[in-house]
Subunit: 474 residues, 2 copies
């Protein structure tokens, strides 16, 4: 394998990202502009994410189901704000079965409309509530500019949809999912996030509250990692979705929806990578340990025997592969698995075996270790935990360094903001004219922060009502 050089992570981050996606074989461009193919190594990350989240969803009584890909255009039009939000992005099927369709069909950009129509059919009384369903699927939103995982016309996600008797219950559901996402991103992806509410102008089309997870990329841009929405009764009214409440009246229920996407893979790539390629947190890595046997013809048998036994032991607890490819050198293998971000590499040759040990190299770049073969399982377990923890700490440290809490005005911070690289915590009066003003500096309001330290609005100079986070964003 010819070893292609990766652009520099620090000085050429954007090119680095584009290249590492391909060199690590996570994804490729699809023939249709703006669409991608997720290759097996990338998809294995997504499957690991699915496994963890499915477990957490199930604990909340959420059940998986499958809803249709094609939605009548009229369904989107039932909820006025919703169609307005999605109209510019939709892909429309006009012909099928050799004929022009009477009504055009939309390739789902999200499934609220069709799922709510089904909910309306399935609920009679409060006894049928809550309903909590989720689906894993892809959705299509036409994009002019695309980047693998971060912004593509087709992307994969899960979309959860629930129906509740009361506003309070819906509120709690949306918040619970918001917290499940936060914990997943921090504990599994090792990405620190701010869990907070979006300002009203940034809400999902039709929602009364949108909660977001905002992460901080090494280039100083914010990335929205997932959202949960309280949809109140607006969709229920639009779809005439009623139930008999405990008092015997016909009532409109309260709805939520919430989702995370393959964008999380992009966040994972950016958050932990380095000049050698990906660095994957052990909890989500498709391969946690790669074993590279090192031998000459006369030691092949003894080395491969030892490697087989070692892998057998390690596989009881970890995801382990052996790279026994004879057409490749150890050096080429090191390059390959570093590019793919495998957290731990075990090198083992005849002399190691004679000493009942092996060399363990972690992807953090924190040196080589010689570990005893007999205690390899617990030892690498501790090392994997250490890597997971260290990646999270490094990301927190980077975020904290770039985080500026300031009472300066937009005019003062604007030039630095447009340079990128910093996240600003400032006061805001809630005046939405700030949004357009921020655009001049390529800035956006990411979220309303849960704690307030400010006194004046960064835009109007009036008293501030909230602290907000402003940044350039993906």
């Amino acid at each position: 394998m010819a070893q292609q050089q990766l652009p520099n992570f620090t000085t050429n981050f954007s090119d680095w990202y584009n290249e590492v996606i391909f060199l690590a074989e996570l994804a490729d461009h699809a023939p249709v502009k703006g669409c991608m193919v997720i290759r097996p190594y990338g998809w294995a990350i997504w499957e690991n994410m699915q496994d963890v989240l499915n477990e957490k969803f199930k604990e909340q009584g959420v059940q998986n189901a499958a809803f249709p890909l094609l939605i009548p255009l009229s369904f989107l039009q039932k909820e006025a704000e919703h169609v307005e939000g999605f109209a510019p992005e939709i892909a429309v099927v006009t012909h099928a079965g050799g004929k022009e369709l009477e009504e055009p069909l939309v390739v789902r950009p999200t499934s609220e409309t069709v799922i709510h129509a089904m909910f309306a059919r399935w609920m009679r009384s409060w006894r049928d509530l809550p309903i909590k369903v989720n689906q894993w699927c892809s959705v299509v939103r036409w994009e002019k500019r695309s980047r693998p995982f971060l912004r593509t016309t087709e992307f994969w996600w899960q979309e959860g949809h629930t129906v509740h008797e009361t506003e309070q219950e819906a509120h709690e559901m949306a918040k619970t999912m918001h917290h499940i996402y936060r914990d997943f991103m921090q504990d599994y992806l090792a990405i620190p996030v701010v869990a907070a509410e979006k300002p009203p102008h940034e809400r999902f089309a039709g929602a009364t509250a949108t909660y977001t997870l905002e992460a901080f990329m090494p280039d100083g841009k914010a990335l929205q990692m997932g959202t949960s929405h309280e949809i109140s009764q607006s969709f229920a009214r639009a779809f005439d979705m009623k139930f008999q409440d405990r008092e015997g009246n016909q009532s409109y229920p309260y709805l939520t929806s919430w989702g995370v996407t393959t964008r999380m893979i992009g966040a994972l790539v950016m958050s932990h990578g380095d000049d050698k390629g990906l660095v994957l947190p052990p909890k989500i890595a498709p391969i946690q340990i790669i074993i590279v046997p090192i031998y000459k013809a006369d030691s092949k048998e003894v080395v491969m025997d030892a490697v087989t036994i070692l892998a057998l032991k390690l596989r009881k607890k970890y995801r382990v592969e052996i790279d026994a490819d004879e057409s490749s050198t150890p050096g080429a293998k090191f390059y390959k698995w570093e590019m793919k971000g495998v957290p731990l590499r075990i090198e083992i040759g005849p002399r190691d075996i004679a000493n009942n040990q092996a060399i363990v190299v972690d992807r953090l770049g924190m040196g080589k270790h010689t570990y005893d073969l007999d205690t390899m399982v617990p030892t690498v377990g501790k090392r994997l935990d250490f890597i997971q923890k260290t990646l999270f700490e490094r990301a927190i440290e980077r975020r904290d360094k770039a985080w500026i809490t300031t009472d300066k005005t937009l005019a003062e911070i604007g030039p630095d903001l447009s340079e990128g690289g910093l996240f600003y915590q400032v006061g805001w009066s809630g005046d939405v004219s700030a949004v357009d003003e921020l655009k001049k500096y390529k800035g956006t309001i990411r979220c309303i922060l849960p704690t307030k330290t400010s006194t004046v609005c960064f835009h109007t100079g009036k008293p501030s009502i909230y602290d907000i986070l402003i940044a350039k964003a993906y």
Copy 2:
């Protein structure tokens, strides 16, 4: 819950099928004609199927990936037979992002074309081969007449695609998957299948061999349960997919594809159901054991305590639910879980607990059993095995009864064939004019049988070359 009456399984099979799908909450009609929603209980069956098959695929070195939903129309046109095969069924996106597209995009009816285009990019030499990928997704083929699970415009499936150096290796791959499917259908779904080759006129568009699994429904119709295809080099040529072979020459590789769909859920419903609803084989049932506690106010605590402990023990090995719904009677619960086909029901009341026992009722309709609570785990294990085995035996018995091996002519068997209910093993000379002649009797050639007992062709009277299976089909 009002108890809706299910149509008679034997005398009104078609209505029974349509109703049981809804009453058991497997699926519902989607707003777009011909499309369906798979509800959580139906989707849980599909997820169980996915888990088993993913494991078997992985053993063959197959990796999951995700390919795009939208395919340029020109891609389908590259392989002449392929576009001809799918043209009448495709759904076409003509507008997106608020504009008419320069080139129409097809919503994938199957993904050979786009996957082969990607393969062409990923392979350089024989060292890159074989490539073996699979994706779980939905596909769209426009249907005039639809039935949930059996024939719908959108359906869910897995499609495996592989690339090989040699024809022999591709042949072995297609056969291996064919046998994996067969074993899965028989061992897990308890559905006996004939594993055999399709006659040439029934091959997949572009394939040189198609292997099919044919199952036998209680109404005497055959159901195609899954297919594997050898695609030879035709697609490789169409997509200019070459690799450097071991001799250093540029060669076209040999391809396979293979898939099974949500149609298997329809087969499961039909194969084992009865007048009370579904009967699900334990190995694939989302709920293997339903526990119904039976108590009055003064015995509630003791019963629920015992039920909790029992469920805790059983859940270590089985998929178990407790139906503790206080708004429903035991009778209504029995009705509900029989409709949903749960293999075993455990009823437990205060007197049972005093005797350290519980009542176990199996969904086969083979009586009630009193089992000791202390040995419940192994006892129900044996009972679940018995149910799995019995369902398979019953299905074999039914198939054998309907299977007629005959040397009669088409004119002689035609009237009975068009009545339905029987499967005919007859001799065939390979003369394709039989296909149109069969249509007069609503019959089709299902497959070329692996063993030959015939001497004359049922259609031409000439010497037969194969034994074939003919039947009405779904």
